[in-house]
């Protein structure tokens, strides 16, 4: 009797985030016919693309049992540099690589602090959060910048009918997914997150591995910055603030553990990012009371995490190794 119940429940719980996501979509769809239109869903994905990309970056870091709090600041610095260059007349072909470079340099700074100087990731990236934000504010002199239209076209142009931000984020996700699941480097990330000392003993270059992960996170933050920028067309002094929390929330919603070694970018983090965005999107479409936004968003995220932890609890309960049949 127990087994039949298991058989029904387990697939449900295994795809909890997916099901909750479907429920959220269905709920909003029922409340407003305008929600489930192709055009709106496409907007939704475009809006989620930036969160998805920075979520992918932080997923890598979380998998190694680290954390990156400097994502928002890196986005800001990258955007500030982009603004400076673009307003100075530099073409996109110069600006874009420069932004990516900025992201990687900041990622490398985190990597240096964490791997070479042995500072806790939390403190190291907290420090870069302040340094990065201050540096960006100095660059912009706390002024807002409006970017030339060439940037906006990045956000609206379509490639074979697919909006460019989706192509970019899709590309990042695909590459990240393949790296995590199909390459030695990806599997080694999981190993490092599971047992760092053992990974070292197994002959892995853990320092280089960790460094790569932080640099990758910086790179993703920069790409995420570009994606946001391409939709906004402007940089304000608050650009990117608190985005690290959204990114971490997306990753954790997608099933990535904060203690390392468990999780993935697809469907995990991507689903988390889209779920967060669909709540925001749906509430706007419903013209909900602005005061309700944080309450509803918090409630749905809580529910998703609750379902996930219930799943692990039941799995642990049911999956207790039977030593004989």
């Amino acid at each position: 009797m127990n087994h039949t119940r298991q058989r029904h429940l387990l697939p449900l719980l295994n795809h909890a985030t997916l099901i909750l996501f479907a429920l959220v979509l269905a709920g909003f769809g029922l409340l407003s016919p305008k929600f489930l239109t192709a055009a709106n869903l496409s907007h939704l994905l475009v809006q989620a693309s930036s969160t998805a990309v920075i979520g992918v970056g932080v997923t890598f870091v979380l998998l190694t049992a680290g954390v990156d709090l400097s994502i928002g600041s890196i986005m800001f610095v990258a955007a500030a540099v982009a603004g400076k260059l673009a307003l100075g007349g530099a073409p996109l072909a110069v600006t874009l690589p420069a932004i990516l470079g900025v992201g990687m340099v900041f990622g490398a700074l985190n990597a240096l602090l964490v791997t070479r100087l042995g500072i806790l990731a939390f403190i190291a990236t907290l420090g870069s959060l302040y340094v990065g934000r201050g540096f960006g504010l100095w660059l912009t002199q706390t002024r807002a910048m409006n970017l030339p239209d060439s940037f906006l076209t990045l956000g609206t142009v379509r490639l074979v009918g697919v909006p460019l931000p989706l192509v970019i984020s899709g590309g990042v996700v695909a590459v990240a997914h393949i790296v995590l699941t199909r390459t030695p480097f990806g599997r080694q990330i999981y190993a490092v997150g599971n047992h760092l000392a053992a990974a070292r003993k197994a002959g892995l270059n853990t320092r280089r591995l960790l460094a790569t992960v932080y640099i990758f996170s910086g790179l993703c933050a920069a790409i995420g910055g570009i994606l946001s920028l391409a939709q906004l067309g402007a940089v304000s002094p608050t650009f990117g603030t608190n985005r690290e929390f959204t990114a971490i929330a997306a990753a954790v919603l997608g099933g990535t553990s904060l203690f390392g070694g468990r999780g993935g970018v697809f469907p995990g983090t991507v689903l988390g990012a889209v779920l967060i965005q669909s709540v925001e999107n749906g509430l706007v479409i419903l013209n909900a009371d602005p005061y309700l936004y944080p309450l509803v968003t918090a409630g749905i995220i809580f529910l998703a995490v609750l379902i996930d932890s219930t799943r692990s609890r039941l799995m642990a309960h049911w999956g207790q190794r039977k030593i004989f049949v």
Binding site: F122, A124, S128, A249, L295, I301, V305, S309, R313
Partner: protein
Amino acid sequence: MNVAADTGSPSGSSRLTAALRSEYLVLFLCAGLFGGLAPFTPGLASTDNFLGLFGNLAPLLLVALGQTLVLIVGGIDLSVTSIIALTSVVGALVMNRDTGWLAGSGAAAPVAIGVMLVLGGLIGAGNGLAVTKLRMPAFMVTLTALMFFSGLAIWLTQSKNIGNLPTAFTELGSRPALALPLAALIAGLVHLLLERSLYGRWLRACGFNARTAHVSGVPVEAVVIATYVASGVLAAAASVLYTGRLETGSPVLGQRILLDVIGATVLGGTSLFGGKGRVSWTFFGVLFLSLLDNALNLLGLSHFTIMMVKGGVILLAALLDTARTRWFNA
């Protein structure tokens, strides 16, 4: 690494220096910061400034102490700032002299403080229950609590601040002569709890290894829940001081101090992985960050310079700490 089995303890004098270094490094950093900046910083060494500094530090210390307990048990509490905001407006709703439920009553201030502390404790209990009974990750539980209760605070007041609080209440936060001894008393109690009580022993054991603690008969779930409750109550106590000081119940009170709270705690030496932490360490961490902020304000540097210097100094302190651990405990 299993390298130095039974190598015994180092000799007496080197142990002394090692202990000095490990316990008081951050305090030395504070002294260094102060000594280094005082000549260039007008007013840094004045009595007024000290009173102000410790007035600022007191509520931050209370929140950070709650955070210390939670970090020792191996969790994290991101919801403290929302507890500060929510208790601030609820307390103000109870006692303000215009529309409060107890407007004009002499009992308004004590009742309001009681309500604030209980509310903080309840939110903490909610966090604790979700973490233990539902086995949800503390980071996410308290992150959603942060979003939810911040939103709730703003919704409750429809964005408005609630002023005109009873003088009895505002005195508490604004008079250093009241606030400082109170904070010191609470810190002392937490210290006793942590170092000298059964709860403190249990707390550390749960943080080091919850499975061992469970097998050894420690009521792990109760300890964890109690710890989140303590964090909630301490955040509410900080809210009493903050609210009193600003003479206003504000739904965005404390919104920006989260990273300072966790940063100061970890900087002091409390481990994010559980088990390790002390009241004195956290005090040093809070003192360091407050002193840094204070000095940077007094220097009159620009906004972004302050941010960069702050980030740099946090990194430097962490770096010293790491280097010290490597050099002396290698």
